[in-house]
């Protein structure tokens, strides 16, 4: 446990080195040859994903840097998807960013730094490392949101994101300091051991610290009542950055929630469960109901994200029943499956938005999708799949995400404690997904039932066409054969908890 074990952090090291290299190489490239940077970034991401895959194949829990850092199957799965998602985002961004003067070296370098922060967060085994990763990710994202500095909306979004994000980081840091003060350690495993053994200075400080930690996490997830930044940032940020915010960092927040709440604060489960339950219900209600009123697609998706995160929170608090951790792996693997499928679906959805955008035209209103079926039946079909997946209608992968969450939720109730509460929560959750179905259906309606207002041809690079098609079809294929991804999440979670 006390060794360096650099191998365990190989993906991060490779990514960091590659990022610096790209930063330097890019200085010697002019705008015509920016594709070299693009290609190098994609290669770096693929190599990182492959390294994560290799570590995943070892199926072991490895500590590095004297216990500051941990590489377990859950981390490897999440990192692999985060790297792939980031690569996909770069592919989608190509045309959009080029048209808007964002296709410069800093776009790539900042994106890679976001991923590095995400990976550090995922593997953090120490409160300070959690914070380190979080700040690396967040600072790079603030800069990315503001990358179009002449765009008033983007600058405003960056400002909001920065102020509220800094506040959230402050919350987390404050909570961490309280935990440190109460339990005398920053190491997550030791934290749990100290709390179980009763070696705490003040239980009040511990619980208060947990409150701040949960609030900080809720900020980062965008759960109600800490969601106010999310619609503005999703709306205001350039679409590639929006999709970046909606994909890899969500996986990372899931990971640090797991690290801190389950690995570090499991003995306090009774306290944080109630908070998560409230956050979940509030997010489901506010997110889904507010989304109905939106006419801007990006804003609608932002509110729908709030609702989706509420659904994921339902699984996260179902993991511990009356102090019994039997169901923990089941519930958290459900949440993990949920967040991964959410990232896949969100990528595709914003991919469509970027596909339809042109020079001087953002295509971010729902009405801009009018008659897409006439203009391009294939991409209309892809968007249809993505929308039904977000709505949780089988046979798309979004259905299984909702199913396993419900299964985890009812599983916690069936264990004996509060059975009827779990059932009512499940009923509320499904009724709100009915509300959600309305606004997702509206997008399908606009694409299929309305006549096109805009008949200009859709132009996109071939690799974008392929990536977007694969992305869309994967939602359907994973819906017909969901067993492999489900098993991957379940095994990773069992192994991570068991080790």
């Amino acid at each position: 446990m006390n060794e360096m074990n650099l191998l365990a952090a190989a993906p991060e090291i490779v990514l960091a080195v590659a990022t610096m290299l790209i930063l330097v190489v890019d200085l010697f490239l002019d705008d015509e040859r920016r594709n070299v940077t693009y290609a190098l970034s994609l290669v770096a991401l693929v190599v990182v994903a492959a390294l994560c895959g290799m570590l995943l194949a070892q199926d072991a829990v490895i500590y590095a840097f004297g216990g500051l850092y941990v590489t377990d199957p859950m981390a490897n799965v999440l990192k692999m998807f985060a790297a792939l998602a980031t690569g996909l985002m770069l592919v989608y961004a190509q045309g959009y960013a080029r048209d808007r003067g964002m296709w410069h070296g800093e776009f790539f370098v900042l994106t890679l730094f976001v991923l590095l922060g995400v990976m550090v967060m995922i593997s953090a085994n120490n409160l300070l490392v959690v914070y380190l990763g979080l700040e690396l990710q967040a600072l790079a994202l603030y800069a990315l949101v503001a990358l179009r500095r002449d765009d008033a909306k983007a600058t405003e979004a960056a400002m909001k994101y920065f102020v509220l994000g800094a506040l959230a980081s402050g919350f987390l840091l404050y909570g961490m300091s309280m935990l440190y003060g109460a339990a005398g350690t920053l190491d997550l495993n030791e934290l749990a051991r100290n709390i179980s053994a009763g070696k705490v200075a003040s239980r009040a400080a511990l619980v208060l610290g947990t409150v701040f930690i949960v609030s900080g996490l809720a900020f980062k997830l965008g759960a109600v009542p800490f969601h106010m930044w999310l619609p503005d940032v999703y709306h205001g940020a350039p679409t590639p950055v929006t999709v970046l915010i909606g994909s890899a960092p969500k996986l990372a927040v899931f990971a640090i929630a797991f690290r801190m709440l389950v690995e570090g604060l499991l003995p306090l489960a009774v306290d944080w469960q109630k908070m998560l339950a409230l956050l979940a219900i509030a997010s489901l209600v506010i997110g889904n109901v507010t989304a109905i009123a939106q006419t801007n697609l990006k804003r609608m998706l932002a509110y729908s994200t709030i609702g989706q995160m509420g659904f994921m929170l339902l699984a996260m608090f179902s993991g511990v029943v009356g102090g019994n951790t039997m169901t923990t792996a089941n519930a958290w693997s459900a949440a993990m499956f949920y967040v991964i499928t959410y990232a896949i679906t969100t990528l595709g959805t914003f991919g469509i938005v970027m596909l339809l955008a042109r020079q001087g035209f953002e295509a971010e209103e729902i009405a801009d999708l009018k008659g897409l079926n006439r203009r391009s039946p294939w991409y209309a079909f892809v968007m249809l799949l993505l929308m039904f997946s977000l709505a949780g209608i089988p046979p798309t992968v979004g259905f299984y995400a909702k199913l396993v969450v419900l299964q985890a939720l009812l599983g916690s109730g069936m264990g004996g404690l509060g059975g009827s509460t779990a059932i009512w929560l499940a009923v509320i959750a499904v009724l709100l997904s009915l509300v959600a179905a309305f606004y997702y259906l509206r997008v399908v309606k606009v694409m299929y039932f309305d006549e096109p207002a805009d008949t200009s041809p859709i132009v996109a690079a071939p690799e974008m066409r392929v990536a977007l098609s694969v992305n869309g079809i994967s939602v359907l294929v994973l819906g017909i054969v969901p067993q492999y991804l489900l098993a991957l999440c379940a095994q990773a979670m069992v192994r991570t908890l068991g080790g």
């Binding site: 209608i393 089988p394 069936m414 059932i423 009915l434 309305f438 299929y448 067993q483």
Partner: protein, 498 residues
């Protein structure tokens, strides 16, 4: 029982495969190729359901043609298919109606032909999936997935108010099925982590939980049937849907709900079913009597047939919840018969609509003078719709009324009013549309049905008469399974006191 080929999988995936093929490769400029491929696909789909009839062992009550593969290990869900006497006819009916719909849309649908046919073929496979699923999760997935193609069919090829109708259809049915999803997950745990329908039949559940489960199932299936008072989506959907959509909706999709009662509500929560039977019987009678009157005053032909569908489906639910063999068998026969008759009625209206672009009864009159052959067919279907002996409509209604009288004379009496009401609304509409003087110059210009229309109407007429004159093949196949179902319904599933 020869089990050489996975016939059920073929019946599901063959139409879906053809649908995907058309969707992927079909272009509107070679619409005729698309139509031909769709026809071949639907005919092959029908062909692979024939071994289900010839190879079916009527003496056996359990599942036949079983296919079982592990599917989602984490949830212990299986790809588990099988048919018994309750479902065998619906599989064949679905494949048959799909052929009819494909032919019916031949010259009528001219925009986005490939997508139209693809939607129907995929829908057909999904509906067969619902009827053959022996795993709760698989059932749910097929059940829900049918919403997507139907939503598109109504919304893209529908009438003026199609968007409203499509949304109403989707959200109404989704509302019900989401509650069922919670019930399914509950049962999954109650059965010790299994989605197997056979295992669910053996689970013992306390009465309160049974009632809640029953209500969740009721939410899903009553909307789909649809039962009064959650029927209001159906007239809208029917009126706005294109002819093919109306036919599939009336002939098969409504049966999914009724079939759900047979598979879930009755055998899994029998005590709750007995407890709440009065309620179901009451609203079924409301559907039969009240909706019958509502149908009488309609001025739109499609709406009239839609309301008559609700009244007929009221008969079906009534038959289920009087818990005797003749009632249940009658209800199932009624479901099949209604598939033929209501499908035929919508096709007849479609035939007239294609020529006149109006569904208003008042716009017609004296059609018999210009379309005599068509008038003869429609006569037969209108008679079947009101339950004339010798047509399929009679058999089911007669059985259900017999069963109802056996259960309680007054219920039987109330149900029997349908014979008057059904005759009133069907024949009165027929009279106003077909008979009399030629109402207006448009009617005078009508041309009689062509070979394509003749073919589909003749096929359906044959089915209606066959079932009316000789229903034995239908009742024979379902006998053993109905007896077994009633045996399950008769047993209490409340946990034994320790």
């Amino acid at each position: 029982m020869q089990n050489t080929l996975p016939w059920l999988s073929l019946a599901i995936w063959l139409p879906i495969g053809f649908g995907v093929l058309i969707l992927g490769a079909g272009r509107d400029r070679n619409a005729n190729v698309v139509r031909t491929v769709a026809l071949v696909g639907s005919l092959l789909g029908l062909l692979v359901t024939l071994p289900l009839y010839t190879g079916f062992d009527a003496a056996q009550a359990g599942l036949q043609f079983v296919e079982k593969e592990m599917w989602i290990e984490r949830l212990n869900a299986h790809y588990h298919l099988g048919i018994d006497g309750l479902s065998v006819w619906f599989v064949i009916l679905t494949a048959f109606i799909t052929v009819i719909v494909v032919i019916a849309g031949w010259e009528v649908i001219e925009s986005r032909v490939a997508q139209y046919y693809a939607a129907f073929l995929i829908l057909s496979g999904l509906m067969i999936g619902v009827f053959t699923a022996a795993d709760g999760l698989l059932f749910y997935i097929f059940f829900e997935a049918t919403l997507i193609p139907m939503y598109i069919i109504i919304g893209v090829w529908g009438g003026a108010n199609r968007v409203y109708a499509a949304f109403k259809f989707f959200l109404y049915t989704l509302a019900g099925s989401l509650l069922m999803l919670v019930a399914l997950v509950y049962l999954y745990y109650a059965a010790g982590g299994s989605f197997d329908l056979a295992a669910w039949r053996e689970v013992r559940i306390p009465l309160t939980a049974q009632v809640l489960l029953f209500l969740a199932f009721f939410a899903a299936f009553s909307v789909k049937v649809p039962m009064w008072p959650v029927h209001t989506w159906l007239p809208d959907a029917h009126v706005e849907a294109p002819t093919g959509g109306s036919v599939v909706l009336a002939a098969i999709m409504l049966k999914l709900g009724a079939y759900g009662f047979l598979r879930f509500s009755l055998p899994i929560t029998p005590d709750a079913a007995h407890e709440l039977a009065w309620f179901i019987i009451a609203i079924s009678l409301v559907a039969v009597v009240y909706i019958g009157f509502v149908a009488l005053v309609q001025t739109d032909m499609k709406k009239l047939v839609a309301y008559s569908s609700i009244a007929h489906m009221g008969f079906v639910t009534l038959g289920f919840f009087i818990f005797n063999r003749i009632g249940v068998e009658g209800a199932i026969v009624q479901m099949i018969s209604h598939g033929f008759v209501s499908g035929a009625m919508f096709l007849c209206i479609g035939v007239m609509y294609d020529r006149m672009h109006s569904r208003n009864i008042a716009d017609y009159g004296g059609v018999v003078n210009t379309m005599p052959r068509f008038a003869a067919f429609m006569m037969l279907f209108a008679m079947a719709n009101c339950g004339l002996p010798g047509t399929s409509g009679f058999v089911g209604e007669f059985y259900v009324i017999l069963g109802a009288v056996k259960y309680n004379f007054w219920i039987g009496m109330a149900a029997a009013t349908t014979l008057i009401l059904g005759a009133a609304y069907s024949l009165w509409m027929y009279k106003r549309v077909i008979f009399g003087e030629v109402g207006n110059p448009h009617v005078a210009e009508l041309t009689d049905i062509g070979a394509r229309e003749f073919l589909i109407l003749a096929l359906l007429a044959g089915a209606v008469l066959w079932m009316g004159v000789y229903p034995k093949p239908f009742t024979d196949l379902m006998g053993a399974s109905v007896a077994e179902l009633l045996q399950h319904v008769g047993q209490s599933k409340i946990p034994l006191a320790r």
